[in-house]
């Protein structure tokens, strides 16, 4: 870790101005940023602690539910309204990290956590995301936890957040405020594909802060589940995960579906084609499997992660069936 200066402004405008200065980093819960700094992946000259800003709290609104960016993951997971109307979000949170980490980590920080690609996290190896132009050893190296969708020949790092998978399935909006004023953008548009510049991960401008998330209410959001598959039973990011929300017609067939998968994409990965194909489908393994099969299209697996394509299809079927059981 390199020496840095530190401030904790109470005024959002000051925070934004400070954060816009090159070499500055924003600190929320710090559960990822502190690791990155200790291990030398980030060496900010100035750290802006935003915990003093008024971005914390949960409110049900006409649009849906609004969650402040500084709300802790544990606070959101304990919120009864969220559990009632958007269970997939609570399940994604409960499957994330550990209680200790969730007590500190924030909703905004979670969406902006950096990838778990082993090379990105190791100072001694090349990595285009960490050191632009240095190469991508993950392409033919230890890529068990890397992505099969959305990668480029420069980077195949997964977006590691569980929360983002649940949120992207539910058309969540991200509210931001920056030197150029506030904006609302769909979460689906927050993250960029790596392309030629994997070091640029989001569309956020310098100094732009996430202030809140708005998750619309819907029947599919109410009937939703999160399924997370991994190498151990807890305290690990997803190998593959699936967030599914469905609305059923009177005959018990799918009227509307929301589906996103984690652990497989370079950004939170929604599956709009499958959502379309699911309309009218019966809730049975036999009916769902052929539709899930379509999810493999366009996958570009590597040596160590090819199994994820099949695992993802199975996860989709199980998550949809589980959503069907929500009453």
């Amino acid at each position: 870790m390199q020496p840095f200066s530190y401030s904790s402004p109470a005024d959002p405008r000051v925070a934004m101005a400070e954060a816009a200065v090159p070499g500055a980093e924003v600190l929320a819960g710090g559960t990822d940023m502190m690791q990155l700094m200790k291990e030398g992946q980030r060496s900010p000259r100035h750290v802006v602690d935003i915990n003093g800003l008024p971005y914390r709290g949960i409110a049900v609104t006409a649009e849906g539910i609004r969650i402040g960016a500084l709300t802790r993951l544990s606070e959101a997971a304990e919120d009864q309204a969220l559990r009632q109307g958007w269970p997939v979000v609570v399940e994604a949170l409960e499957a994330s990290a550990s209680p200790q980490v969730r007590n500190l980590a924030t909703m905004g920080g979670n969406l902006l956590q950096r990838t778990r690609c082993l090379y990105f996290r190791d100072w001694a190896t090349p990595c285009n995301k960490r050191q632009p132009g240095s190469g991508c050893p993950a392409l033919d190296g230890q890529n068990r936890n890397n992505a099969v969708f959305g990668g480029s020949d420069r980077c195949i790092a997964t977006h590691a957040s569980d929360l983002a998978v649940a949120l992207v399935a539910l058309d969540t909006l991200v509210l931001t405020e920056g030197p150029n004023g506030p904006r609302r953008l769909p979460l689906a548009d927050l993250h960029r594909l790596p392309g030629d510049s994997p070091q640029v991960e989001t569309v956020l401008q310098p100094g732009e802060l996430i202030t809140a998330l708005v998750i619309p209410a819907s029947a599919a959001a109410r009937r939703s589940r999160y399924l997370k598959l991994r190498d151990r039973a807890s305290f690990e990011w997803a190998l593959v995960s699936a967030a599914a929300g469905i609305d059923l017609d009177t005959g018990g067939n799918i009227r509307e579906a929301r589906l996103a998968v984690g652990g497989v994409g370079t950004k939170p990965w929604r599956l709009p084609r499958i959502e379309q194909a699911l309309i009218g489908a019966r809730l049975s393994p036999e009916a769902l499997r052929p539709v899930a099969e379509l999810a493999g299209e366009g996958a570009r697996p590597r040596n160590g992660n090819a199994f994820k394509v099949e695992l993802m299809k199975r996860a989709i079927v199980r998550a949809l069936l589980a959503a069907g059981e929500v009453t």
């Binding site: 030398g40 190791d122 001694a124 039973a233 990011w237 695992l311 199975r314």
Partner: protein, 742 residues
Amino acid sequence: MAGAVGQPLERADGASKVTGAARYTADLSFPGMVYAALAQSPIASGRLVGLDATEAAAMPGVLQVLTKDNVPRLAPCPILLGEEGHIHSAGQSFMPLQDDRIFYSGQPLALVVAVRRETALAAAARVRLTTEGAPPAAELADPRIPEFDPLDRWEDRQEGGRGDLALGLADAAVGIDATYVTVLQHHNCMEPHATVALWDGDLVTVYDPTTWVQGMQRTIATWFGLPDDHVRVVQHFVGGSFGGKGPAWPHVALTTLAARLVRRPVQLVLSRRQTFEMVGHRPRVEHHLQLGATGDGRLTALAHYALTHSSPFDGRVVAPVTKTSRKLYACPNVLTTYRMKHLNLAGPFTMRAPGEAPGLFALESAMDELAYALNIDPVALRLANDTTTDPDNGRPWSSRSLARCFAAAATRFGWDRRAPHPGSMRRGDWQVGWGTASMAYDSRTVPTAARVVLFNDGRVLAESATCDQGTGSYTVFPQIAADALGVPVERVRFALGDSAMPTAPISAGSMTMSSVGSAVQAAATRLRGQLLRLALEDADSPLKGAMPATIDAVDGVFSRRDAPQWRDPFVAILARRSLDHLEATGQVKPVPTEDKYSRYSFGAHFAEVLVHAESGELRLGRYVAAFGAGRIINPRLAHSQLIGGIVWGIGMALSEESRLDTRLGRVMNASLADYLVPVQADIPEIDAFFVDEADPDLNPIGTKGVGEIGTIGSAAAIANAVFHATGKRIRDLPITRDKLMA
């Protein structure tokens, strides 16, 4: 009155650990202490061609940057292991910062000393290194890397055999020929390695969580060309070792050197990643097994050919995987071989059950395959090959409870309800599998000394230069001393972890209880004898002139068995002589080489796994295991060792692997987020227990070790259960979902 031995006492050090009062090496601080940090090689093979420390050295607070160009040379230290006269504990023969050679990724190339830890770390990152690399040797299976025979051996050779293997294979009605792989693993104790060195003239004190303070003492003395008594090594708490803290690794030398050069106490604490780079690992082993058996399941042939690796500079055996394959079962024709390759990794070292945990994964998986091939129950197959003598040397076992362990654990598990065919048991969407495996492990007792002191206020101190690596030394040795001396256990305190104390061996190989416990008992018994003599010879004692054999010692009081009203408290004996204390030392002698017995512990594992038919998700349902381990001094702590050992087996079976990028020669998942030790949610209810076993031929206290036996065989029991559930035989660990889906 019941003695302290056999009581399930709680850990004497437990409260201090959970409250944070226990001070580990990284918690220590001394006046004037400064901090070290390492600059390390990003490449695994090559040379250091340039080093620029200008920027680092100029940072405010940096005292010195040590490099190969400005440090004195250290003398080499031998790295024998398990050999006669093995008194040093160097983890590897190669010492960094002595020349320009680079042998492993993460190798220290410079060490920065600064007044604050943060400054040292920041400066270390600013040491500019220029290296010239060659592709590392990192792939054990690479045919271009030559094999060699082990250079340093354990007391028991890994190569050996009997009979005629070819004949035995030809005679067999059924054969198994398969290769199993146990992978690179790291110890991952909670407490990272840390060292503090303080010089006082030519005397040096080193604080380090080593499990062998005297080995480290002699190693440091050798490196620095000092007499042994100029070096003192101290440790009070060891936050887990699992073998990895046995040796003195090079960072200990570098810290000691830095303290000498800057003339201040220096502390170095390794990061988690650094503990993957320079303080030992369990090497990968490829085990080729051949089994042959008659139609009714008697083994006619057994071969275990092991291939593993060492560092570029050493070739010692740290994973003695083949020896027990010659011993576990009656079989007339046996062959074991052991070959190695040099890979660009730092020195490997022993890791919990270093030989038998990997070795019995292979053997017991092969036995399971044989059981299916023969259509014989896996338990019956093992019992059909039970033996009353050690088939490797013809000696009788001092005790062997294998069959009793199988019987007891099978009953508790309900093994008789098992449907024999793979894939034939189901619970909803889950396929259910039951698997079993044998456990066998050496029980050792080695020369050790202890001292026991009785103070005139009735308190007792027992001590030996051993350690408590979370295993319970602080708790169990007072139990032994209390009973041998005849005092309440609350009055006895045990001290450890100082090289100035009576001689103790490395705390490894599950031999601490047997070795230190026997020495403590000898010392306490001798002290009681001395004390009794003082009483019986004392005209003022109520016991004057009584026969020693008629005297009991209970609660710190001698009394006549025939007339208990005649009593003499220990403190009174000391008071009448005006002694403030009385002490005695005791030893346990080496086992004679022309020994009558083979001494092993045995056990039986039973695992239930559930595999989700759709997603391949794997969970453990239940776990039952029985062990024969001689006398159990503290059932609570022994039970904890069994459970902990089994949890280790679960990790080995299902998730633990240090994943190498073989192009870089680097462990890529070097963190606790990515190297997956099991979490609580992975662990089912574990029913682990001991069968009664009295074995007076083991050692004076009749104990076998319990630290490693839980781990041995458990990975095989789980793999065998996975086969029973799914029909898939996974021969390379860990059994991850992708392998089950393939």
